[in-house]
C-alpha cells in the first residue's frame, strides 16, 4: 500500500462513523472480492472509494448496508457491528442510511413525487400535506421541484439520478452512500451531481461515502479517498492532494488514466503466437 496516510488517516478516522476492519468477502468460494481491507469513514466527511470496475467498491457499500455478511473481519456502522444485527436491527440501521444506486433504482410504476414520498410514507405517520411539503423541499434541493408530476420514463439519466438523490435524503439520513453517481452523465449533469453531493453533505451534516471511478469529480468534492485495486485490496489512501502527488506506479496509472502499467491492459491469455498459429 502506498505510504500516504501518515497525516491523512487522522482526517478520515478521528471520529469514524463507519469502520471496516480486515474484511474478507466473496460472493462464493471460488472468488474473493475483498481481500483483507480496512477503511474508516470520518463523521461529516465526504470520503471517496476509487478503483476500476469489479474491484469491490459497490460490494463495500452493500456490506455497510448489511446486505451480505462478511466472511471474516467486521463492519461497524454507528459503533455497532453490522453482522451481529438481526433483521429488525438491520432495518433500524438502514433507516439511518440513504443510498443512491448506480442507475437510480427508481420505482418505474410511481411518479417522481411518489418516488421521493415513498420512504416517508413507509416509515413515518406524517399526513399527506406534510409529506407534500417535504417532498417538494427535497426536489427543490436537487432542482427538480417542477418535475414532481413527471413519470420516471420521462426523465433523462441525470434527472433520474437527482430524483434518486432526493429520495435518498428524504428521511435526512446520517450516512449517505453514492454508488457511481457520475457514471453515464454529461459534463453539466456530472458537475451538478458533484456539487449536490458536497452541498448536501455540508448542509445536512451527514457523512458521505462516494464510490466512483471518476477521479477528477471525486477529487473536487471529497475530503479523503481510498484507491482499491482489482485484487480487492486498498492500494493507497489519503487526501486528494496527497493521492495526486503520489509516485506509486499504480496510483499514478489510475489517476492519470494510463492504459498500461501495473494494471495490465490485456486480460491474461496464452501467448499471441500460440493463438494465431505462428511459429516463433
Amino acid at each position: 500500500m502506498a505510504d500516504l496516510p501518515a497525516t491523512a488517516t487522522v482526517s478520515s478516522s478521528s471520529d469514524p462513523l463507519v469502520e471496516i476492519d480486515h474484511v474478507v468477502f466473496g460472493y462464493d468460494a471460488r472468488r474473493t472480492i475483498l481481500n483483507d481491507v480496512s477503511l474508516t469513514f470520518g463523521r461529516g466527511k465526504v470520503t471517496a472509494i476509487l478503483g476500476g470496475s469489479g474491484c469491490g467498491k459497490t460490494t463495500l457499500l452493500r456490506l455497510i448496508g448489511g446486505v451480505y455478511p462478511t466472511n471474516s473481519g467486521s463492519v461497524r456502522v454507528f459503533g455497532d457491528v453490522v453482522d451481529a444485527h438481526d433483521d429488525e436491527q438491520l432495518f433500524a440501521l438502514r433507516r439511518r442510511l440513504g443510498m443512491l444506486f448506480q442507475f437510480g433504482a427508481l420505482f418505474t410504476d410511481l411518479s417522481v413525487f411518489d418516488n421521493v414520498a415513498f420512504p416517508l410514507r413507509e416509515h413515518t405517520d406524517l399526513d399527506e400535506a406534510m409529506i407534500r411539503d417535504i417532498v417538494l423541499m427535497k426536489l427543490n434541493a436537487v432542482g427538480l421541484r417542477g418535475a414532481a408530476g413527471l413519470r420516471i420514463a420521462d426523465l433523462s439519466g441525470g434527472m433520474a439520478r437527482r430524483v434518486a438523490l432526493a429520495r435518498a435524503i428524504a428521511l435526512d439520513p446520517e450516512l449517505l452512500m453514492y454508488d457511481e453517481p457520475f457514471a453515464g452523465l454529461d459534463p453539466i449533469s456530472m458537475s451538478i451531481a458533484a456539487n449536490l453531493i458536497r452541498t448536501l453533505n455540508d448542509t445536512t451534516g451527514a457523512t458521505s461515502i462516494l464510490v466512483s471511478h471518476d477521479v477528477d469529480e471525486c477529487f473536487s468534492i471529497c475530503d479523503y479517498a481510498y484507491l482499491m485495486s482489482s485484487a480487492g485490496i486498498v492500494v493507497a489512501h489519503g487526501t486528494p492532494k496527497q493521492l495526486a502527488a503520489s509516485e506509486d506506479p499504480e496510483v499514478r496509472q489510475f489517476i492519470r488514466g494510463e492504459p498500461d502499467g501495473p494494471v495490465r491492459f490485456h486480460y491474461p491469455a496464452r501467448p499471441l503466437a500460440e493463438d494465431f498459429g505462428v511459429n516463433a
Partner: protein, 260 residues
C-alpha cells in the same frame, strides 16, 4: 459406475437444494402476509392489476368454451335423446373442471407472466435492492400483496368463467339449436350440488391461484437479473404453472369426487 452414482448424487442434491429454496421462499412469503394484510389497499391494487385486467381474456374464453361445449354435448346427447340434459352436463363440466383449470391456465399465461416479468425487471433495475436498503422489506411490500391478490382473484375469475360459459351454452343450445329453456335450467338446477360441485370447484381454483401466483413470484424473484434471465423466468412460469395445475387437478379430482 462410480461416476454414474456420483452424477445421481449430484442431481439429487440439486433437486433437494431447489426444493429447500422453494420452501424457504414460501415461508418468507407467509411471514410477510400479515404485514400486507395490515395495508389492504396494496392487496386491492394488485387485485385490480391481476384480476380486473384479466377479465377480458377470461370472459371471452369462457364464452367461447361455453359455445363449443354446448355444440359438442348436443351432438353427443341428441343421439341418445338426452339433449335436455345438456345444461347439466355443461354446468358440471365447467364448475368442476373446465372453469378452474382453464382459468388457471389463462391466468398463468396472462397474469403469471406479467408478475414474473414485473418482479424480474424490478430486480434487474435494483428496485428491490433499493427497497431493501430503504428498510422496506420487498417481500412484504411487493410479493405478499401480489400473492394474496392472486389467491383472491383466481376463484372469482373461475366463477365468472363458468358463469359466462353457461350463458354461452344457453345461447347456443336454447337460442340457436332450440333446446327447451325450462329443461335446460331445471335439470341443471336439480343435478348440481352447491357444495360438492360448485364448492369443490372454488376450492380447486383457490389451490390453483396459490400454485400459479407462488410460481410466478418465485420465478421473478429468483430470475437472473438480465433480459435473458427474465425471459427464462417468464417461460418457466407458464410451463411449471401449467403442469402444476394439471397434475394438482388430477389429485384434487380424485380426492373430491372419488365417491358418487
Amino acid at each position: 459406475m462410480s461416476e454414474a452414482i456420483a452424477a445421481v448424487g449430484r442431481r439429487t442434491l440439486e433437486v433437494l437444494r431447489i426444493l429447500g429454496h422453494h420452501a424457504t421462499f414460501f415461508l418468507d412469503l407467509l411471514r410477510a402476509c400479515p404485514a400486507a394484510l395490515r395495508r389492504p389497499y396494496l392487496v386491492v391494487a394488485q387485485i385490480h392489476a391481476i384480476g380486473n385486467l384479466s377479465l377480458v381474456i377470461i370472459l371471452a374464453s369462457g364464452l367461447a368454451v361455453g359455445f363449443v361445449l354446448a355444440l359438442q354435448m348436443y351432438y353427443a346427447l341428441v343421439t341418445y335423446g338426452a339433449a335436455e340434459s345438456l345444461g347439466l352436463i355443461v354446468n358440471l363440466s365447467l364448475t368442476r373442471e373446465l372453469g378452474p383449470v382453464v382459468t388457471a391456465l389463462l391466468y398463468a399465461g396472462r397474469a403469471g407472466t406479467s408478475l414474473t416479468a414485473e418482479i424480474g425487471l424490478m430486480k434487474a433495475g435494483e428496485q428491490l435492492a433499493a427497497m431493501d436498503m430503504m428498510a422496506v422489506d420487498p417481500r412484504s411490500r411487493v410479493l405478499a400483496p401480489r400473492f394474496l391478490a392472486g389467491i383472491v382473484s383466481m376463484p372469482i375469475l373461475a366463477i365468472l368463467f363458468s358463469s359466462i360459459g353457461i350463458l354461452g351454452a344457453y345461447v347456443v343450445a336454447v337460442l340457436l339449436i332450440g333446446v327447451d329453456a325450462g329443461n335446460f335450467w331445471s335439470i341443471m338446477q336439480s343435478g348440481v350440488d352447491v357444495r360438492r360441485d360448485i364448492g369443490n370447484g372454488i376450492v380447486k381454483s383457490i389451490v390453483f391461484g396459490f400454485i400459479c401466483t407462488f410460481i410466478a413470484l418465485y420465478q421473478g424473484y429468483e430470475a437472473e437479473a438480465t433480459p435473458e434471465g427474465v425471459a427464462h423466468g417468464t417461460t418457466r412460469t407458464v410451463v411449471i404453472s401449467s403442469l402444476g395445475v394439471l397434475m394438482m387437478d388430477f389429485v384434487l379430482t380424485a380426492l373430491m369426487f372419488s365417491t358418487p
